[in-house]
């Protein structure tokens, strides 16, 4: 009897989990294996892939150093600027805002998400282009200011596009912060600034780390913003991949770049997770 119910329960569990497992296997694990195989192969003469076993593609990685550099520099810097902008907003929403309007204010943060990032980035393209802000600046005497197609424009687009993704996890961690801890800190003689740096900030670090890794990881694969706001100049790995797979049809080299990217993301994530655990003193920190 007990055995029967146990088996039955296991069957139910298996049937509930199966679709997700199948999905992940077909659309994540298999492609990744394919990518690994491609990355040690060769480009067929007419483009695409032909079987081989060579590390030539990986040896060729330095030829795309600019894309790696742009991505590995601008993604963390962009995420960090996001953090600087997002933390005060999240703090205001979670701690200072009148609870009656809190929901409204939080939804104002999310509403821009309802419009396509493509449309919003196009708007920035126009704003930063020669008929936008530079045009206004020339009216007050600053001629020949170029914003579009610079690192700065890409950074601006990144911060604009990813800000809500940074605000939300920080907001959540600040919102569930036990207010009595802040009172206890004040009760023990700590000034508000001191309370912030010894209690509030450390205890919201899990949210900060979640936001940082979420934004950084998504930025590593970013394609749209550098394409539109960086012109041909600020290339991300995402743009390099599109170029290699769709234009030059060098699948093995594209795969080698993608594999390198995935491995470095996993590596960065593990380190970030370790740091977050250490600071928060618990393992109750989920990064993604």
């Amino acid at each position: 009897m007990a055995l029967a119910t146990n088996t039955k329960r296991r069957m139910v569990t298996a049937s509930l989990v199966a679709p997700a497992v199948a999905w992940l296997f077909i659309f994540l694990v298999l492609p990744f294996i394919a990518m690994l195989v491609f990355s040690v192969g060769e480009r067929a003469p007419e483009g695409g892939y032909q079987p081989a076993f060579t590390f030539a593609q990986f040896a060729n990685l330095p030829s795309r150093a600019a894309a790696f550099w742009n991505t590995l520099f601008l993604a963390p810097v962009g995420a960090f600027i996001c953090l600087i902008v997002a933390y005060p907003v999240a703090y205001y929403l979670a701690v200072k805002a009148n609870p009656r309007y809190r929901l409204l204010l939080v939804s104002l943060v999310i509403v821009p998400f309802w419009t396509s990032l493509l449309v919003r980035t196009y708007a920035w393209m126009y704003l930063l282009g020669s008929r936008g802000i530079p045009n206004l600046l020339s009216m007050v005497g600053f001629d020949d200011v170029r914003i579009l197609n610079t690192h700065g424009a890409v950074l601006l687009g990144i911060v604009y596009g990813y800000l809500p993704l940074m605000i939300m996890p920080i907001y959540v961690s600040l919102e569930k912060l036990d207010r009595r801890l802040l009172e206890a800190s004040a009760d023990l003689g700590a000034k508000p600034v001191s309370t912030f740096f010894s209690i509030t900030l450390p205890l919201s670090l899990p949210g900060v780390m979640t936001g940082l890794s979420l934004v950084t990881i998504l930025l590593l694969g970013e394609y749209l913003i550098p394409q539109l706001l960086g012109g041909g100049k600020v290339f991300f790995i995402g743009n390099a991949l599109v170029d290699l797979f769709l234009q030059s049809r060098n699948w093995p080299f594209g795969s080698a770049i993608a594999v390198t990217l995935v491995i470095s993301v996993v590596f960065v994530l593990l380190i970030a997770m370790r740091i977050a655990w250490k600071i928060a003193g618990t393992r109750q920190v989920d990064l993604v």
Binding site: L181, E183, S185, D187, L188, A190, K191, S198, L203
Partner: protein
């Protein structure tokens, strides 16, 4: 007004013991017609309270009676809407929590989860200006941990400690700052019964040894009665009675106190024109006893369960009330009976076991006779 907290309290502690005698006249805490409202809701209305130095006061009342609000106004987490709160004779209007010479043990302790025990306890000392030297801090932290019998636990993380240990950490974290007043917000609510009783004794001993004023908020009347030397019974934002525990129990000021503190049997009755006879609801008459004449009219009689004696019917006692035992609750050292009396409803009676030892316990459904000394009854206007 921004006197550093630790420095201020240190001065208090440096006073020779002798001067404390004269400062007995100084109240550690004083409420002067304090009211607190949140919008249209009045949490505390017109409270006047004086807590003498070194007293152990319990603010006792049902939830929502305003006791926690009072405590938070002493701690500086709430400001009175009107009136003044004074600590050591100084008005505290506008003085922030971090500037007050009091410390609090929070409900559920509010220990900092990202610090270990030692870092939690030293937190207050690390905030003090002028700075306290590191060796001095670790000396005092060790001393405080020793005091709550947690010596050697300094490096433990908070989540590795049991509920009772966390309670002690919270206590050490507050006491290490040598506050002139310690505030305790339902400090024992999260502990099991055995631990709670042990902590009650410990808290009481600690308070006697340190001579610090303790203000305890609790809804548990047993806790208030057993630990404090002054009980402040509150209801609906007001103080109903402020007296020693025994007096609160023996001479409740009104029906609310009689009901809330301990168990009480209530009976509706009428005082006859002679002012000395009570007519009970079942029509029987009862002499009031030795107290002075009462004005005629409707009253409520309150009787403690232990003030009533239970007799078997075959015993030749001319009791006033006869009834049937409906329930019996065996409590170990004592027995509680619920007795249904004709025309008067249910009575709760507590009997010591040794009193009954000459015979077996009274069984449910057995007919019994109840007697009580009229002087033991409290009479309140209905």
């Amino acid at each position: 007004m921004t006197v550093a907290k630790a420095a201020q309290t240190d001065q208090c502690n440096l006073k020779p013991q002798g001067t404390n005698v004269t400062s007995h006249s100084v109240n550690d805490i004083e409420f002067r017609s304090v009211s607190k409202s949140y919008g249209a809701v009045t949490a505390v209305s017109d409270i006047n309270l004086q807590v003498p130095k070194g007293a152990f006061v319990a603010l006792l009342g049902p939830s929502g009676c305003g006791k926690t609000t009072c405590l938070r106004m002493i701690g500086g987490f709430e400001q009175p809407t009107t009136g003044d709160v004074l600590i050591n004779g100084k008005p505290m209007n506008g003085v922030q929590a971090h500037q007050r010479p009091v410390n609090m043990v929070f409900q559920q302790y509010a220990l900092f989860p990202h610090f270990n025990v030692e870092q939690n306890v030293s937190y207050g000392l690390r905030q003090a200006r002028p700075k306290i030297s590191a060796p001095e801090i670790s000396r005092r932290v060790a001393e405080a941990l020793e005091m709550v019998r947690l010596g050697g636990f300094g490096k433990r993380r908070i989540h590795e400690m049991s509920g009772g240990q966390q309670q002690r950490v919270a206590l050490a974290r507050a006491l290490v700052n040598k506050p002139s007043v310690l505030l305790l917000d339902e400090p024992l609510a999260a502990l099991d019964k055995k631990l709670r009783t042990a902590m009650q004794i410990e808290l009481q001993t600690l308070q006697r040894e340190l001579g610090i004023t303790f203000v305890l908020v609790t809804h548990d009347q047993e806790e208030a009665l057993s630990m404090s030397d002054l009980v402040c019974v509150m209801n609906a934002g007001r103080i109903v009675q402020l007296a020693a525990p025994q007096e609160v129990y023996d001479k409740p000021r009104d029906l609310f106190v009689a009901d809330f503190v301990g168990k009480t049997n209530r009976m509706a009755a009428t005082v006859e024109a002679d002012g000395a006879t009570l007519r009970l609801a079942d029509g029987s008459a009862l002499s009031i006893g030795e107290r002075s004449a009462l004005p005629p009219g409707a009253v409520t009689l309150a009787l403690r369960p232990e003030a009533i004696t239970l007799h078997r019917q075959n015993q030749s006692i001319s009791g006033r009330l006869s009834g049937v035992v409906t329930h019996r609750i065996f409590l170990g050292s004592s027995v509680e009976y619920s007795v249904s009396v004709n025309g008067l409803g249910n009575f709760l009676i507590t009997a010591d076991r040794h009193v009954l030892s000459e015979s077996s316990l009274v069984e449910p459904n057995e007919r019994v006779v109840l007697s009580f000394n009229p002087d033991a009854a409290h009479i309140f206007p209905a």
